[in-house]
């Protein structure tokens, strides 16, 4: 988190404008395991993208392109749901 602001600097009503808001990094929530994809096995079904609770699957257009480990919490759902077993959870 950046420097905390003083009351005079806040939007009326506490509105948060997304463009100006700081990004929260929840990658630190992972407890030892992170997902890793074997691209050769990936068939771009995008089920991992669909099911990831943390919008941590990165796409390039409609092609699977990896994980955003800044926000991935390591829930293992992508690995569980990948139909080709392309995703494995590995130690950090």
């Amino acid at each position: 988190m950046g420097a905390l602001r003083a009351w005079q600097e806040l939007e009326p009503g506490g509105t948060v404008v997304r463009a100006e808001a700081e990004r929260v990094r929840t990658g630190g929530w992972r407890t030892g395991l992170r997902p890793e994809a074997e691209l050769a096995r990936c068939v771009d079904c995008l089920l991992c993208w669909l099911y990831c609770p943390d919008s941590a699957v990165v796409l390039d257009g409609t092609t699977f392109a990896g994980f955003d480990l800044d926000v991935c919490k390591g829930c293992e759902i992508c690995a569980e749901m990948c139909p080709t077993g392309a995703i494995e959870m590995v130690a950090e």
């Binding site: 602001r5 009326p12 506490g14 948060v16």
Partner: protein
Amino acid sequence: MSAALELLTGGEAVAHAMRQIDPDVVPVYPITPQTPIIQGFAKFVADGQAHGELVDVESEHSAMSAAIGSALAGARTMTATSSQGLALMAEVVYIAAAMRAPIVMALGNRALSGPINIHCDHSDSMLIRDSGVAQLFVENAQEAYDMTVLAPRLAERPDVLLPVLVCQDGFTITHSAEPVELLPDESVRRFVGDYAVPHAVLDVAAPATQGPFAMPDYYFELRRAQVAALEAALPAFDEVAFELTRLTGRPLAAVERYRVEGARTVVVALGSTAGTVKEGVDALRDAGEPVGLLRVVSFRPFPRAAVAEALGDADAVVVLDRADSPGGAPPLFAEVASVLYGSGVELRGHVYGLGGRELHPEDLPAIVSGRAPAYVGLRSEPCPA
């Protein structure tokens, strides 16, 4: 009086003000004595004389919630309620203020249950006195109209952006017909102007998150910013009132000083009672008693400086509260005590008029002289003549 005057109840006068302001969205739920306001406005809509939409919600909690939704969506929004209605929506009234939704509400003041009662006192207003909304108390139907016309301008100022309640005494004003002068429709429309909020929800091009969760690291700061908006509302009120007075010729101010000059004892009151007290003041003045009245119009924000200034020279100040705080200090009394603390002015207070009990000009001598009981108007404890 002039032939241009209409004989209107306060409720009808406010309905006319709403027709002229012509808000976009009016979510309402019926409750006595607010009903003449919403029924009058409903008829204007049904007849094509007003062009917004009445939303007949299923409770007052939803009335205020829908009002927040539409006001923040970018639509000018008004509503009205009384008593239990205000109590039921209290939770959301605080939030409306905190979200800075410039909603205008007509409040027909009525006693809170229990027991259930439909007549006037100010307990409903007092219930939300910490909520951060502005509360303006009017004395009669004409002022109910004027203040309603003024309210959107105050509410929508970028430095204010707060809900504004125009509080009129239930029945005593809402249902009493008095001469009222209406401004031309065009003048009102021009006076209120266009509506805008900083981040309209419907603006999908600039997505904003409104109503986020605040932890201890920010909550206090956000509340402090809200206090600043209320502080700004006081000079803002003066400015907007000045502009309106130019149209109406009728003065409006955060406090009204009635024969305060040279008064040794000054009575402080809100709402329609002030008119009754004026009669009593005149009678006492006629009898040579140096008595005056300070009518607090803007109860929130409370005009601390103006009150202190108006009362500072008196020997004694008597506060009349039309609401009580059982086991504690009555609200208006506590407010005045906070302002006058240390001034050396003697301060007394009475609770009167709960649930529609009458106060008469004839009660004033006892009140002013200190012979009145703490609760004025209880039948077992009459004011000595």
